[in-house]
Amino acid sequence: MGKEMRKKLMAITWLAIIIMVGCRGSSERAGEKRPEELSGVILIDGSSTVFPITEAVAEEFQKKFPAVRVTVGISGTGGGFKKFYGRETDISNASRPIRDSEQKECEKKGIEFIELPVAFDGLAVVVNPQNDWCNWMSVKELKQLWEPEAQGKIMRWNQIRPDWPDEEIHLYGAGVDSGTYDYFTEAIVGKEHSSRGDYTASEDDNVLVQGISTDKYALGFFGLAYYEANRNKLKLVAIDDENPENGNGPILPTEETVANGTYQPLSRPIFIYVRKDSLETKPHVEEFVRFYIKMAPTLVKEVGYIPLPSHAYEMVMRKLENRVTGTAFSGSKVGLSIEELIGR
């Protein structure tokens, strides 16, 4: 009887395997599409910062091409690139340029990619609204506060400027796995991924907003969109990079100062990376990327980011059409002009 039971169990197991394999086969057949109809799946993953833009584009795209199924995941910029060079995605959202190591992986796997900047994001340095002393800071002061050597040493406001109160300073910032952290450290400390560790870190920027808005002696940084959504609970700090070439004195992040490059060094470009072979073998991917660049100026603004100047989008479109592969960067770079950014 034991044997009989075992036989039945085996039969059930085999049945399950056959069903699974069968389903896989049929869906692959369904995936084979006729090009004139434009249908298929577009797989996108990567940065949570870029997500709202890509989501908006996907939403509009699917209204126009209902047979194309766009999926967007959030694995972070680094996680997204891992899937990208594992050939699991067609497009990767990135809030920083691709790293040398990631580029090498792409080369190893024979993946060519096109790097397309799609918007600017400003990083906001914010304090509590009750903070009436800190209206602006220089990059030097921020560096002094955030560099690794400051850990356990720079603990009070008056250590930064003597006329500031003799009170503990409480720091809040993006978690170390985020592109936001990479960019902030590159721009302020001068070395990517290097900062003091004794601050409240969270991957969820709403937690940082919550923390800073309830703590008079707090200071923190995160994406400008989170400041815009919580204007009444936070106070912006103007930033002075002490470089008169891009605007004199402390400058507040606004749509204008981020786009024209005077809010330096804390405005950064954000990107999508597209696999060249996806562009060439899947017409719906190409259509989607064109649509992305065409719609970016309006959609980027709608979801709280800052569009590139309009001539920049033309350049980006040309870059796509000419299939210019490779990156204009190696790691986070600060203060690039539009031309350098697109890499011509």
Binding site: M1, G2, E4, M5, L9, I12, A16, M20, C23, R24, S26, S27, E28, A30, V41, L43, D45, S48, F51, P52, T54, E55, A56, A58, E59, Q62, R69, V70, T71, V72, G73, I74, S75, K83, E88, E203, D204, D205, N206, V209, G223, A225, Y226, E228, A229, N230, L299, E302, V303, G304
Partner: protein
């Protein structure tokens, strides 16, 4: 004197017992009220945020960049498919394994090894199952980030719990009933089918309810295997990409705009409702089965 002393002692003893019993009762009540009130506060808080947003549109729309237009359809359907598929895979396997271990397996070191491993597996953090699912189903078996890969991963997560619960309730079936069945000439298979399983089923169902309720709220393994955040279509096949309620809620919570936070609260209410409905269904089933047995 002696009598008086005795009486006094007894009195003191008695009152002490009474006191410690009262204290125990108080502690019991407090430990019941405390978590319940936390739960209550959480639910009230969520409901206050979410109820105004709950309407038919919210249930039947796809995600959107406009919080007031965004809906939960793909996540809700994804979760229902996922849980249905998981149940379809995990329940027969779990009950089958339990029956084998309880009724057929010989009592040797190998069986005990399996038993120890199953109880250990029940305590493994869910993200580990996610990593296993990513390696085994998504990459090795090439199923991709699909509904079936998600369901298989959740099934792995639930199996140890279902097996353990099912075994416990099979053990509870009185020996006398089995012996009676054997005495009437039934063979082993018949005893299991006609006596052990029907009597054990209510208990097995309870175990399944608890594990399913856990599965529907699981986020970590789904994120690990790569369930997606923006999916504006319904799964058409087992290999379709998908999203699920906890993932959609997590995404909305982390957006800057207040409108999305309201959506998240409404999403939590939907998730809670689905869970309550599932539990209600299972309890109803169990009661029906119990009645039939009597």
């Amino acid at each position: 004197m002696e009598e008086k002393n005795d009486g006094k002692n007894r009195l003191v003893d008695f009152s002490m017992n009474n006191g410690s019993e009262k204290a125990f009762k108080a502690i019991g009540i407090v430990s019941l009220i405390l978590p319940l009130s936390f739960l209550f506060i959480l639910i009230i808080d969520t409901a206050a945020d979410g109820i105004p947003r709950l309407n038919w549109n919210f249930l039947t729309s796809f995600p959107s960049r406009f919080p007031e237009k965004a809906g939960i359809l793909s996540a809700l359907v994804g979760s229902i498919y996922l849980i249905g598929l998981t149940a379809f895979i995990a329940i027969p396997l779990g009950i089958g394994a339990a029956i084998y271990l309880e009724e057929y397996a010989r009592n040797n070191w190998f069986t005990s090894l399996i038993e120890i491993n199953i109880s250990n597996l029940a305590g493994v953090p869910s993200i580990i199952y996610g990593l296993l699912g990513l390696g085994l189903f998504v990459r090795f078996m090439g199923l991709g980030r699909s509904l079936i890969a998600g369901a298989l991963t959740l099934s792995l997560l639930l199996l140890p719990m279902i097996i353990m619960a099912a075994r416990e309730s099979l053990k509870m079936v009185p020996l006398e009933l089995r012996e009676a069945a054997y005495a009437l000439g039934a063979d082993k298979w018949m005893v299991i089918r006609k006596v052990v399983l029907p009597l054990g089923l209510p208990g097995i169902l309870t175990g399944i309810i608890l594990s399913m309720a856990r599965a529907i709220g699981e986020t970590a393994p789904l994120i690990t295997i790569g369930a997606l955040t923006y999916v504006a279509f319904l799964p058409k096949s087992l290999t379709s990409p998908f999203t699920a309620l906890p993932i959609q809620i997590f995404n909305w919570i982390s957006r800057p705009q207040k409108g999305f936070h309201v959506n998240a609260a409404a999403g939590i209410l939907v998730l809670l409702t689905v869970m309550l409905l599932m539990n209600a269904l299972a309890i109803w089933l169990r009661m029906r089965l119990q009645k039939r047995n009597i």
